[in-house]
């Protein structure tokens, strides 16, 4: 498959439609390999047009950030909402079982969180948040692991384990439809600033910042995808690419790799801060986990 880097580079350089015919077979070969070059015209014109379009787009949509599902085909949107059809619910089901499963003498999740449909409704919409005891930023995955280690005295499941994904999906599903109310104030402020700086900073070999695509080029095509606002309200999500459920941090690792930048660890400070920034940016949008993504 053609790496993203190649596609971007070919856009930047462009292949002029007026290329002399004398280039002969080598030109033929090149167009066969990279037919997407056709129609972009000269590099400068393309980038000028792109810049203009993105300015217009930014102006028109600045006030209405849409969730990832808004960029899916109608059929995938329907499937996401269909619990008989969205495979993410298989993980929700696993999480629900784990929630009341007894391990040794440890209390079960449900022995403290009785009536989770009521008591935990909205919990996912308030994460990430600063943990009062440690003063550190913690997301939903971290909160669940904290409960497991500190209160249940059980070994942590580990980020991206099927068990933690299941429990996270279950707890997140209890907040389905609840608008995000993550705070960027008080103790969260420095984390928010760190996350925003990460989002705005150019990174990696492609030297791209999150904002360049996820604010500047929303709605445009990248490979077969439509560029979204980079909103995480559908995570953990079932991604067809993964053939399974994955966390937002797994998705962010794919973003980092996409621009050939450092991939940070699951649960790293960098991605936690970014997760907070994305959540604040999505304030008011309803949680839709388990989402369905390409």
């Amino acid at each position: 498959m053609i790496p993203t880097a190649l596609i971007l580079r070919s856009r930047a350089s462009g292949v002029s439609k007026d290329a002399p015919e004398r280039t002969g077979p080598s030109f033929e070969t090149r167009s066969a390999i990279a037919p997407q070059d056709e129609g972009y015209g000269s590099g400068k014109a393309f980038w000028l047009a792109t810049a203009l379009i993105s300015l217009l787009l930014t102006a028109a949509t600045a006030e209405e950030i849409k969730p990832g599902s808004a960029f899916l085909s109608a059929s995938m949107q329907r499937q996401q909402e269909d619990e008989a059809r969205n495979p993410g619910w298989l993980w929700v089901e696993q999480g629900e079982e784990l929630f009341s499963r007894r391990e040794g003498a440890a209390p079960t999740c449900i022995s403290c969180h009785t009536d989770p449909k009521q008591s935990l409704r909205g919990a996912a919409a308030r994460h990430p948040q600063v943990d009062a005891a440690s003063g550190k930023l913690i997301n939903l995955e971290g909160r669940i692991e904290q409960c497991r280690v500190d209160r249940q005295k059980q070994p942590a499941f580990g980020y991206e384990s099927q068990e933690l994904l299941g429990l996270t999906a279950y707890v997140a599903s209890l907040s389905k439809g609840v608008p995000l109310t993550v705070s960027a104030e008080g103790a969260a402020k420095p984390y928010y600033e760190t996350g925003k700086a990460f989002y705005d900073r150019r990174q990696g070999q492609l030297n791209l910042a999150c904002t360049q695509c996820h604010d500047g080029l929303v709605g445009q095509k990248l490979r077969g995808d439509t560029i979204s606002y980079g909103i995480g309200t559908g995570y953990p999500a079932y991604r067809l690419e993964w053939n399974g459920l994955g966390s937002l941090h797994r998705r962010l690792r794919a973003c980092s790799l996409g621009v050939r930048a450092t991939q940070f660890d699951y649960g790293s400070d960098e991605y936690l801060a970014l997760e907070l920034y994305l959540a604040v940016r999505a304030k008011g949008l309803a949680l839709e986990a388990p989402g369905l993504r390409r």
């Binding site: 298989l90 053939n243 399974g244």
Partner: protein, 108 residues
Amino acid sequence: MASFNARITMPAEARAGEIVEIRVLVRHPMDRGGQVDSEGRVVPRKILNRLTVTYAGEPVFRYDMHTGVSANPFVSFTTRAVETGDLTFEWREDGGATFTRTARLVVT
């Protein structure tokens, strides 16, 4: 392997003669074999190769799956409600393991 679980969606009740739709979503990686895992080992083929559905003991549907069926496969089919009884879903995995689930259809 991740735990096996199945979501079977169908009406609990139907009138005699009515055609009901049955939707089945099951959790399975459907490893088609030949891929390399994180330790560099070649993953052998392991898929669910067959789903057989009986209704009050009578076979009503069978799905033969090959490597071209997606991970966590979904399938929907129909059956005519004839009598109150259990629908039994049996999946057969490469290597011979089987998984079974049942769902009751009440016919009025």
